[in-house]
Point group: C3
Chain length 501, copies 3
């Protein structure tokens, strides 16, 4: 819990202590069952109410706990109250909020605090890269404002996350080393192209209610790298060449600590960082916003590592996290972000991570022919594929794109929808049974009435027969009346039969 | 005829005899005009009726023939009665039916008997490949069941055909040789990914009412091959390299028998088989289900061979059937499968085959840069292109995807539609002419009535003038009354007219 | 002005003189402000009217000018009157019109005169290439006729422009040199495939209301080149290889005249021509139809050149116009052709040109791995991307595809739409204010009535009180009546307040 509190106070200066807590070499301390309710606001409130109702017990501790939960709820999820408060601030401060949210949106997290922590991680990794990332996010957001894109999407950081990746990766793959200031020129240009590509791709993907993911980043960074290439005077890129001989893999030489470390490194590689501490910080930033996202990120990275071993990848690549970062993103996207998290979806997310690892290897091999890295193409393609699936089961529920927030809230939406559906079905059934009951009751009532009428008729008949003895002419109509009564009786029988069917 | 009967009795054991019949070096014995009506069930029945009506003539032979036709109708086409009977059987038997249909669906044939014959051909080629193909089909079908895909599509083998190709081609291109059992692992994984990709691609293609063809297979096999590559410890692939010098082509060295043999080999290469006997078996399996399909398969393979010669391909590639298999599939798809077969469509199918051959060469050259074979990309892309054409002629009729069965039945559907349209048009015309006639008759009747009325009026007028001389006071109201009467009369006429319309 | 008049009389024989006028090394003589109204027919007429009204002044010169404007209007824009006149001519002449329009449609110009001038430029460049271009256009158009495509689109040359590019570029990249007659075979085949690909791609792109641009050409030429490749006996292609070492760039060696010349050369490279005179002729042909198009073409070429310098491209490539032609097309497409030209769109067009230059370098580098040129892929992809943008500003208005003609007319359409919208809004406002006025007047009227009524009531009251003194029973209703009056008064006050708010 400590890192959560610490980082909410001053995440930038306390990163080291929080890292030491969730050391990336050990498995991260995710206590889903405990923290799960923190994220979904209605649940928090419920617990809060429940806590206050019983008068006896250690109330002091409970009160502290409930207060703590309330405080946490302000910093977790998408920090909606903060976003609303921000709307009234002046533009420069708003822009900072959007930039921070943009930085976190790479991992589908709409949380400025997470963004701040992520920037801290980037600074830990490399100042120059962090600067480029910041410039990228900033100019991508500004460009979106100039192009008059949807203000809500800008405020959620949805126009910034491609910018940060463009900025970072252009710095990472530049062959001129750090602090080559000219690089900021193409960086700004490419960042400002992000919203254009986002908008254009959204026009296509929206036909299938799909997000654009990091496709604009992939396109723009590959564009920049292949347009200049390794042999360029102004903006040379690092040399990437296809594998042309059997890699030297001896299983006895495997370095287990490094292998375990590859899990946080894989998460760090989402932002192009190979520092395990940075990866650890990223894990924390995910955990703050959404433990489900955090869990799937770690799971995805692990799946990537295993896939690398299965496909006989060079150990160096695995240690370097190159097998992990795509799986991280794919696993987050499928596992609760765009699908409502059920066990089936969880399995689907793991399958997607494996598929993504396979695809990652394939795309890396193809791209290396052009001197290009795989970027996050594997993640984009695999996640899009898995989001396009149609199935006849209701356990795999794809959220409408407009309703996607974060896994915990998505789940709430899904449960509400299910409850609503159930209620509607129950209501329908109740109505049907009621109607049935009513019709039965009506039948009974009818029958009673009919019987009364019949008795009355008989009584009258009796009277009439008495009278008839005086008047023999009225004997003819009698059998007719009787026949009438018979008919009534049979009709009545039919009705009662129908009522009990 | 012989192979049809033989194979319908026991196709597996008689493959050899049937192959010897339709030897692939000679042109296959396709008698379209004779066999054509066998396939379309309504036609069969019509002939059946027609046969029974005339009492005289060689009835014994005719009866035998009609009985033979009836028997054949059970094994041709999509074997619907068999499929319906299967629905009541237990799941494992059903699964076998689906797997067999899946094996045949590669060639757009929905027929378990054809599937059985195709497996026979595969066994003739290579046991290990056949096993991999079977495993692939089986797991692809099982995966579709797990993912709760449409049961009708599964039963038609539409989730199996990518699986068999994935299984086969992964075995074919493995550099570890036969009986490398570890290969079954990625085989099973990739086969199980087939329904996911099929479902995802169908979500996209269905917007244009297009099938997914073998795109999932293409994607998955290329994925596997390029993810591991030639230089891999676990799953190395055969080395494929781009051409870097002028091939040695001397036209005097051309081997004509081999060139002719390339036609069945090209059909065999659809399943990655280079054995001409296997190709011959495949031709038979096609012939059983649909002679039109069979004819277009042979035609496509021939077009591919000619294109190879025209584009100066190395003779080895042509002999090996590499120029044929894509054209085979493209020619089948366009020639009667997804378009209703007319002469225009037939020409379009041949054009498509030529285009596909061109595209095949292009894609093979590009893919070789990545150590990949062309797979059936050329077929997919060319067929999809030709299915996307829109034209203002009615002779090129694209069937709605839901109505596609097999060329003969498709034709029946097209003819029915045309007849219906014709009938509607005729009905419309009939009504129009009738209305015209009626209105003319009405006009004549009206005129006659009018003339009678006028004469009557004149006569009355004459009378009245005589009476009027006696009573001058009644002269004023008279014309009014007359007018009134006239009005009544006309109204009456109108009413009677209206009544007879 | 001279070249306009000359070329309208006999453009073919006067090309040399007109070239000498608009020498490509000097900046082209575009006087937008002066010539702008020539193109938009309504404007021309307006000016015409304005000119005729004043009776005084040098009328002889004005008359001559107006006559000249009228003559020019027949040859500028899309030459609609000529097209209508052509419809009555016999097919061969019509076909020639379509071919000429097709030749010009590469630059989005629907003008047979421009087409004629372009062919003149091609002949100046190379007879053999011009022949191949003509054959390509002709067969593409014929193929569209055979496939029964939309007659209006054929008549606008929309099925020919891919044909001319296919024909030209297949000749340009053939390694067999000029007058290799066999080349006409694939040329005719590929040209005839153009309408098929156009139709298929239009089926896809029409979902987003996008044109197909030169995608069919790109696909088919790449198809032909990579299918045969450099190492082919029948149709070898020129050898294109990826860059594998740092190019030798010394900024002191830059040749400024050549650099300036690269602007018209870049326009010429749209048709694969490196002759600056040919480029100059093309500029003239654009100017005849639409000065806006012409201006954006020159601008695009200049942007391409600058981008080449910025990305450290070898000077040879820049001089050769390889950095210009895609930007030319992209800048024309965005700058007024598919968007209505505003300042925002003008800036967008320049941005698109820069993006296109970047993309051009990237695609050229990738394609060189397969021995392919970049063709016009960069233009297609960048223009499609920029046409897919959605924004919330009204200043960037994408024309519906069916309404696209040429920039000047598009602007007219946009202005009409805006005026219409304004008029509607004004009408609405007028109505609203009228209604307000009316309600106010009604209020006043009501109030006056009310006051009258009140006075009347008071008078009656006075009467009644007099009477009441006689009858004490009527005292009760009095306060009530008074109260009623009070209520009326307050209501009235409220209403008058409301009316003046």
């Amino acid at each position: 819990m400590a890192p959560l509190l610490l980082s909410s106070q001053d995440p930038k200066t306390n990163t080291n202590s929080s890292i030491s807590f969730s050391s990336p070499t050990s498995s991260p301390p995710i206590s889903l069952t405990e923290l799960h309710p923190l994220m979904a606001h209605p649940d928090t409130q419920c617990e809060h109410d429940r806590v206050q109702v019983p008068p006896s017990g250690p109330t002091a501790m409970q009160k502290a706990r409930s207060r703590f939960l309330k405080v946490v709820s302000y910093f977790s999820g998408d920090m909606k109250p903060f976003g609303k408060w921000m709307e009234k601030q002046f533009l420069l401060l708003q822009l900072l909020d959007w930039v921070l949210r943009g930085a976190a949106q790479v991992m589908f997290v709409n949380n400025p605090l997470s963004g701040l922590i992520i920037f801290a991680g980037l600074i830990l990794q490399n100042y120059w890269w962090a600067l480029n990332g910041f410039v990228g996010t900033l100019f991508a957001t500004i460009s979106a404002l100039i192009l008059q894109q949807n203000r809500g999407a800008i405020a959620a950081g949805l126009y910034g996350y491609n910018g940060i990746l463009v900025g970072l990766l252009m710095a990472v793959f530049s062959n001129k080393g750090d602090w080559y200031w000219w690089l900021l020129l193409p960086n700004v240009f490419m960042s400002m192209m992000c919203p254009i590509l986002s908008s254009a791709l959204a026009s296509i993907n929206s036909r299938w209610d799909l997000p654009v993911f990091t496709l604009p980043f992939n396109i723009l960074v590959c564009l920049h790298m292949v347009a200049t290439g390794h042999y360029n005077h102004h903006f040379p890129q690092v040399l990437i060449q296809p594998r042309s001989e059997l890699p030297n893999i001896t299983w006895s030489e495997i370095d287990l600590p490094k292998l375990f470390m590859s899990v946080p490194v894989g998460i760090g590689q989402v932002y192009g960082c190979d520092n395990p501490w940075t990866g650890g910080i990223f894990i924390i930033s995910l955990f703050i916003s959404s433990p489900i996202t955090c869990a799937h990120a770690v799971l995805g990275s692990a799946v990537g590592m295993v896939s690398g071993l299965a496909l006989a990848a060079p150990f160096g690549d695995i240690y370097f996290g190159l097998w992990g970062y795509n799986c991280v993103l794919a696993c987050i996207a499928i596992g609760g972000m765009f699908y409502a998290l059920t066990w089936q979806v969880h399995l689907l997310a793991i399958t997607c991570a494996f598929f993504c690892a396979y695809l990652g290897s394939a795309i890396a091999n193809i791209m290396s022919n052009f001197g290009l890295p795989a970027c996050t193409w594997p993640f984009c393609l695999s996640a899009l594929t898995f989001l396009l699936i149609t199935t006849e089961t209701k356990k795999i529920f794809k959220l409408p794109l407009a309703k996607v927030t974060y896994p915990e809230k998505n789940l709430g939406f899904f449960w509400k929808l299910k409850k609503q559906e159930k209620a509607e079905r129950a209501e329908k059934e109740r109505k049907e049974t009621e109607e049935k009951k009513k019709s039965i009751e009506d039948e009974i009532l009818k029958n009673e009435k009919e019987q009364l009428r019949l008795e009355l008729a008989r009584m009258e008949e009796g009277k009439r027969t008495n009278e008839a003895s005086d008047d023999p002419l009225t004997q003819d109509p009698e059998p007719e009346a009787e026949q009438h009564v018979d008919e009534d009786e049979t009709r009545q029988n039919n009705l009662t039969e129908a009522a009990y069917v």
